[in-house]
Symmetry: C2
Subunit: 419 residues, 2 copies
Amino acid sequence: MTGQPLPGFRDFFPKEHSALRSIFQAWREASRRSGFSEYEGPELESLDLYKEKSGDEIVGQLYHFKDKGDREVALRPEMTPTFARMVASQHRNYRKPIKWFSVPRLFRYERPQRGRHREHYQWNCDVVGEKSAAAEAELISTLCLGLSLLGLGPKDVVVKISDRSWWDSFLAKHGVGEKEKPDVLRILDRMEGSTPEQRKEKLGVLAGPVEDAWEGRGGDSPALMEVRKGVEALGYGEWCETDLRVVRGLAYYTGVVFEVHDRSGKLRAVAGGGRYDDLLKKLGGEDLPATGFGMGDAVLAELLREKNIQSVEPSAAEIFVVAEAGEKAMGLALVGQLRRGGFCADYDPGAGKLGKQLELAEAKGARWALLVGRESAEGKFGLKELATRRQVEVRWSKGPDGNICLEPNPGEWAKVVGS
Amino acid sequence: MTGQPLPGFRDFFPKEHSALRSIFQAWREASRRSGFSEYEGPELESLDLYKEKSGDEIVGQLYHFKDKGDREVALRPEMTPTFARMVASQHRNYRKPIKWFSVPRLFRYERPQRGRHREHYQWNCDVVGEKSAAAEAELISTLCLGLSLLGLGPKDVVVKISDRSWWDSFLAKHGVGEKEKPDVLRILDRMEGSTPEQRKEKLGVLAGPVEDAWEGRGGDSPALMEVRKGVEALGYGEWCETDLRVVRGLAYYTGVVFEVHDRSGKLRAVAGGGRYDDLLKKLGGEDLPATGFGMGDAVLAELLREKNIQSVEPSAAEIFVVAEAGEKAMGLALVGQLRRGGFCADYDPGAGKLGKQLELAEAKGARWALLVGRESAEGKFGLKELATRRQVEVRWSKGPDGNICLEPNPGEWAKVVGS
């Protein structure tokens, strides 16, 4: 058996999982504070669901196969089609605007590279049933809140805001037909960092007007300004910039679009989203305005590493009960009771000599060692703070319910030992 | 587009997801208190990983396919092979006993039925590197703690404890060879509720001795008694029963095994596990004793429903800011600031008339409406507790950092309105 996961997949050992959890926690906390409710869907869906949204092209990037019931199925590459399916089936039961979020695991068959795996977690927030710029402002302020809960600020990241409908008018004005439009948008999406010659080559006569637009000489978009006003009012004005170079490659965006980038511009986009007012109708038959964003865990984790922001790995054990040979039953009773009382308690199942038990307590990163020795018959335990080696006495007695009462109780230990 | 997920898969709308979350929370909290650390692995693994553990037979129940790189891959049907792979690759970096847990999503192509889906979540706890019965006692007490955090007790569920090695000796004594053994174990595993005639038919001459064993006349197992003693010492004695009818169908168990059942016996097992001392060597080349259990979300959720234990769905919004037309910017500033301060705050993006905003506040289940009207110029907001219709005044001023200071602050509102 190979010890490695498949290429592009990740093992999360306790330390790595702790970093992942702190990301999840920030995502969930920002969503909750901003009034979004969590949902989840299947990881396996009908292949058609993705073809309907993105065309046959997407199939090349999917994990798809025929199941034992002869259905063409795919591991979800993104959450929006599932979201659209769920909203279409139940939106009548929910008051608009619907504000839902999810933290799905997603799969794409891509060449693994830095910050890009074949599976990743993605924070998805969507607002359905709201036409005004308030929807985008909610989303952008929620993602800024999430990033700030992780320790990132407007000096680390920038939300670049653009307007797809502005580009639609621009392309129509310059004679680009509906048929060529998706290709031109895809080219524009990849133009950042290109030279004027490359743009000339790819865009032809459009190159000049595009450059004018980039320089801000293309006029401004009222929708975009409305969004920026809303984000500013919610307190995240300094996180944002107008940047018409952002177009988002996907065909289904209809209005304001945005991307989050690290200020240094070294990494791929941390998040991206925008308005997709026609998609729910196309996918679910329900004509509802919608906006949303997705933020993956991988680029974000890289950015946090780069900024030297590390999650604190919680110690596995708070209280380690160390019992002499004759006091094992008392030790176990304490462990069980401390756990039921909400504390994180552990012990050495090997139950070797005291010194060995203490050594394990330290190796496991416990803060306290509760020493159960012969004095327990006199109603006493020893209590040792392992880092400081300070030791005090704890008294115990049996309560009316048969429980062991500790005096002082663990909530007060820090105070007692510190004094 | 069909509004339904694939057969056997589930959509978790906000209400269902809230119930799922309360299960996850109990699992994680019980694990943490008991000193287990969380890990996670890939959902897609090499097909060989499962064949090595369970033989070719397992393939019939798997979602497996050839990926675009021509690898035979499978959606994980269980966590143990991934766990074994991860432990084998890094166990030297961890002090024994290794106590890890995970809440993986698992996939099996089975006929969907009550409490059985094609995907489910499973709580997995494992202890590696501990030969003594302390390992099983840890696992059983941890799962009892998890169930009790959900509101279940020893009147609702029973942990049936048995000993696979006892059965091994029993079968050897009655002339069952190593080759026939797996089949006989599988038959024994399905014998509960059978008639004496059925047992006679399936087991032949073994039927009589098996019945004697079931009746407890088969003697007892020292390993099993040791485990029961440990669980008792940790405070969960009344949750447990010895029941030799439990054998667990899987071939790899080597010692004490256990299952959790509802007391009424109506549902399938809620959890199951046991000692598998040879598996890590077989899978990962490391000779380490190990024990573990798995508990799925589906049967557990059914049991909770049957016992009428429902998770409280948290209200999406705590504070709903209601602003008059001229005070929209102030309203948004409040929303942003309350969220940054840790509160769950929302507002009506449509920003209609006051009455409509209040109606949305109630529809969203908010507790408080913070009313921003013309009196805000005089340093006052209205505060309404929506359920009781009680209304008081809140004063505000600008702090030195430009923040809005509320007097009283939201933490004190309940007290102020209640008095």
